[in-house]
Symmetry: C2
Subunit: 239 residues, 2 copies
């Protein structure tokens, strides 16, 4: 299974997590009943429940009494789009889309290399991207990826990276973004950003730096997003 020095329930957690990652148990489907798992793993049912508890806390599983235990994806991705809400005429939030402008290998700035936990001076994948609400350009993004986690990334067709990146990370490279840190600040628009977003030079910009992590909390992406501060709303639950 995994490291045999770990507690049984951790080993079982790892095994279930792998089966989910390998889509042996696909998204939104139920996994075997806890009593079945207990007998296949040869442990008491309480031990299986401990493993499932951990996976529930991680957002990979959801228990529904009387129905079963279901594979879920952290609702995370939706929560990453809390900001820059633009509403349709009917008042519903619009799902933002993304359009990749360029991709290349570059040596990242030191702070990016640190954020990605790669040695300074080594190349990484650099990507420039525009986020759209409908046909309105609302967000310009500079994105960096550690190239060892994304082999062949530059060879992908642009369509494979649209409309959203995180599903592509998961399906093409098995990289699941499970958590992130965001830092928000306000800056004045310089000329390139102003023209890209169609705001006045010097207009207040909301700038969001995000470090994204996988489930082992290893960094898998760093990005910096720029958007007009007008109409910006960022809602967050604290603790």
């Amino acid at each position: 299974m995994s490291d045999p020095r770990l507690p049984r329930y951790q080993q079982i957690r790892d095994d279930i997590a792998r089966k989910i990652a390998d889509q042996v148990w696909p998204l939104n489907q139920s996994i075997p009943a806890e009593s079945d798992l207990a007998s296949t793993y040869g442990v008491a049912i309480g031990t299986v429940r401990q493993a499932v508890d951990v996976l529930m806390a991680e957002g990979l599983l959801e228990r529904l009494q009387g129905k079963g235990t279901f594979v879920r994806r952290p609702s995370f991705s939706s929560s990453l789009f809390r900001f820059f809400r633009h509403h349709s005429e009917s008042g519903e939030p619009i799902m933002p889309t993304g359009k990749v402008l360029s991709r290349s290998l570059k040596i990242p700035p030191v702070e990016v290399a640190n954020a990605l936990a790669i040695s300074t001076g080594l190349e990484a994948i650099a990507m420039s991207r525009m986020r759209l609400f409908g046909d309105r350009e609302v967000l310009k993004e500079d994105i960096w990826l550690p190239k060892h986690r994304f082999p062949g990334f530059l060879d992908l067709a642009p369509e494979e990276l649209e409309p959203l990146l995180y599903p592509a990370y998961e399906q093409k490279f098995g990289v699941l973004v499970a958590s992130a840190e965001e830092t928000l600040m306000v800056e004045a628009a310089d000329e390139t950003i102003a023209s890209a977003l169609g705001v006045a030079l010097g207009a207040p910009l909301m700038v969001i730096e995000r470090s994204a992590f996988d489930q082992e909390r290893k960094p898998v992406e760093w990005r910096r997003s720029y958007g007009s501060a007008a109409g910006f709303r960022y809602k967050i639950e604290v603790r």
Copy 2:
């Protein structure tokens, strides 16, 4: 105990939570061993562990193997000061202080009454406050409290509300802030705010609206904070 229709472990959770609130088991001290609790409550040890699991997830208890289970306070209050970081010359973050400018009873706007879950048209406690880093005024705050949770609030000496409000809420009124929702947006400074904070008229302001909740998720405070967007940094962990 509490509602006898609830599962035993929930009743035990409530009883432990009450003993913590009443300081029968004070902050940073250990509570009785799980085996002791099991015999006093007359349940199996696993049931006590379930109750403690819940309280751990809520941040009220911390287990230390070999030592015991200790009463903690959600590290929350510190996390509320992530924003507007100003650094001393040595680079250490400075703890902000607060100075209450005025307190009175007023009828709050509808959206505040809703946020506090009180009937519209009823009076609430209104408070104006300035936040300081050292002797620099960096944040102006308008705060609303439901008066039934804070009897005698207007009679407190101002010193009892300084430097921080949440410890005063807890010690004087037994109101523990356990979670909050914050919404961030950027606005232009009007004349009163501009002069209060010493920024130019129309300068970009970071505006933070916060609804604070107790452990039953009942609203206990609503506030709106204004600060200059220059130098603003807000760091948040997502999911």
